[in-house]
């Protein structure tokens, strides 16, 4: 068991510019399998830029990323997803008019026959598997046909998580996943992130709520003005110290 390499993702000297703005300055970050990283920082600190590079939404200007020991070039979201990096974005990535089943499988639909870009959907599999994935994240929704617009905020987030889990993610990036959720729904999401660890899934949890971050993270990484300003074990810090750090 101990021979299995623990390195999941290693980022070396990541840099990103938006025009003249140096948004990410020589950021190094290493995440192990089963580790929960709490990523904190004020608005504009570079958190979103960092995770958008990791999930292929933004391209990297300078630096290297290694995934499971291999150097990778994550130039688009498809490559990230193929590697096993799933992201739950801060903004809504649900399609309100579409059914739950179609939302779970969007972009990676099971096919009966056809070509890569034009194939007959295996709707039976989509319906069955989407309900299974949703049940596995502890949600109880009655039908895969319900349009997502009819779900509560927490249920939508649950469908997002089910989508990530179904495709056997190795790393899950959660960008403010508890925004707009009720207390009960928030607790559910936090419990879920904790459970990722036991499945060997590494995760990055971004939140402005430092109490949430401190509760679930193994390690806390702080950012300010595009730089990494701290990287420490949860045991070595307190919520009050974190508030002072990014305040």
């Amino acid at each position: 068991m101990n021979n299995i390499p623990r390195d999941l993702i290693t980022c070396n000297q990541l840099n990103k510019w938006y025009g003249n703005l140096h948004a990410l300055k020589n950021v190094n970050l290493k995440i192990n399998k089963g580790e929960v990283i709490g990523l904190i920082g004020d608005n504009g600190a570079g958190k979103s830029t960092l995770i958008k590079i990791m999930c292929g939404v933004h391209s990297l200007d300078k630096g290297e990323i290694y995934f499971e020991g291999k150097k990778v070039n994550i130039k688009n979201p498809k490559i990230a997803m193929d590697l096993g990096i799933e992201t739950i974005h801060q903004y809504n990535t649900m399609f309100q008019e579409m059914s739950i089943a179609r939302n779970v499988f969007i972009g990676r639909e099971p096919k009966k026959f056809g070509f890569k870009s034009l194939a007959l959907l295996d709707e039976e599999k989509m319906n069955k598997e989407s309900m299974k994935a949703i049940n596995e994240v502890g949600l109880d929704l009655r039908s895969p046909h319900i349009p997502v617009k009819e779900l509560s905020g927490g249920e939508k987030q649950g469908v997002s998580i089910a989508r990530s889990m179904y495709f056997k993610s190795k790393m899950l990036i959660l960008d403010e996943p508890t925004n707009h959720l009720s207390v009960k729904e928030t607790l559910k999401v936090l419990e879920y992130v904790k459970s990722l660890s036991s499945m060997g899934i590494g995760s990055i949890f971004i939140s402005h709520n430092l109490y949430h971050v401190h509760e679930i993270a193994d390690r806390i990484v702080g950012m300010a003005r595009g730089e990494k300003v701290c990287d420490m074990s949860k045991e070595d810090t307190t919520v009050n110290e974190l508030i002072k750090l990014i305040g």
């Binding site: 399609f95 194939a119 009655r142």
Partner: protein
């Protein structure tokens, strides 16, 4: 008996309002004019119907993908003019000429896509520019007087009559069925809806939104070009003003048929119903000898009524909460 589930599903369909208005007008027009509800009159309606319906179908698919095309009226002229020039002046086989005419339409659709997507220009502006450019090309390449349709040109396979119906209606039905199948049953259809509803999310989930939108732009142009060829074959002549103003009628048909200007909503069936509504209104005005200028008023009123009804039925459908056993 319809249960709540079925009622909700029915009300949620984008073409529901158009279908309801269609049935309502069918009943009203039957009482208003004795000549309306007879097979001969409907054959008259259906003989020109495929041309507008094909354009509306292309526009609807593009609108579902979240874009818009004002150049379809000009493409409607370019394709048959290119086709006729190739047949008459270059003596190419008519099938090759038609394919090249459609390729010209596809090229215009591709340019629309590039200008809209790569240069991030709203498709309303990009295709407005193309409306003028394509119309100008139609006039310039034909010298203002396109060659006429040769008498010996085989046109029966496209516009000939089967009993009282024109063959073009079968082409329309076939194309609409394929479009419906792609939209509802394939992964590409799923991507069209996703791209139209939330392009950024679709991109972040690995969908090649550029490819999706470009395909829809090309499809929209090719349908407009094909419709233009059908019309020129039917009337056996090509004029440079062919399809002028058609873009607004096609967009009206798409909107009446339930396609949303915001993207992500619409159906192939809706495009057909929307166009049929416009066609029967036009027909009843002619039958009743009402001043033709009222047609635009009727289309305008229809758009407003259909969109209001769409919103109302959608809200009603959203309010219907289903129980677990349903």
């Amino acid at each position: 008996m319809l249960n709540k589930n079925k009622i909700k599903a029915l009300l949620s369909r984008p073409e529901f309002s158009a279908l309801a208005i269609f049935i309502f007008l069918l009943v009203i027009f039957t009482f208003v004019n004795d000549h309306f509800l007879n097979s001969r009159n409907f054959m008259v309606i259906l003989s020109t119907y495929p041309e507008l319906a094909l354009v509306a179908l292309g526009i609807t698919i593009l609108m579902i993908a979240g874009e818009f095309d004002l150049s379809v009226g000009s493409v409607f002229a370019v394709s048959p003019i290119v086709t006729m020039i190739l047949i008459a002046d270059y003596e190419l086989h008519y099938i090759v000429s038609i394919l090249l005419g459609l390729t010209a339409a596809a090229f215009i659709g591709f340019i629309n896509a590039i200008v809209t997507i790569k240069f991030k220009i709203p498709s309303f502006i990009a295709t407005l520019g193309m409306l003028f450019m394509a119309r100008s090309i139609a006039v310039v390449i034909s010298g203002g007087f396109p060659p006429s349709v040769p008498k010996d040109l085989p046109t029966d396979w496209l516009v000939g009559r089967v009993d009282m119906l024109r063959v073009s209606i079968f082409w329309l039905i076939g194309i609409a069925l394929v479009c419906n199948y792609i939209l509802k049953k394939t992964n590409f259809g799923n991507w069209i809806y996703a791209t139209g509803e939330n392009q950024n999310a679709a991109k972040d989930l690995g969908i090649n939104t550029f490819k999706v939108k470009t395909t829809c732009f090309i499809l929209c142009s090719v349908f407009a070009g094909f419709a233009g060829i059908i019309q020129s074959f039917r009337i056996r002549t090509v004029i440079t003003s062919l399809g002028s103003g058609l873009e607004l009628q096609a967009i009206a048909s798409a909107v009446v048929g339930g396609a949303s200007l915001m993207g992500g909503i619409g159906s192939a069936f809706g495009a057909l119903i929307g166009t049929l509504l416009l066609s029967i209104i036009d027909n009843i005005l002619i039958l009743s000898r009402i001043d033709g200028n009222w047609f635009k008023f009727a289309v305008g009123a229809l758009i407003v009524i259909a969109v209001i009804l769409n919103t109302l039925t959608k809200n009603t459908a959203d309010k219907i909460r289903l129980k677990d056993d349903e």
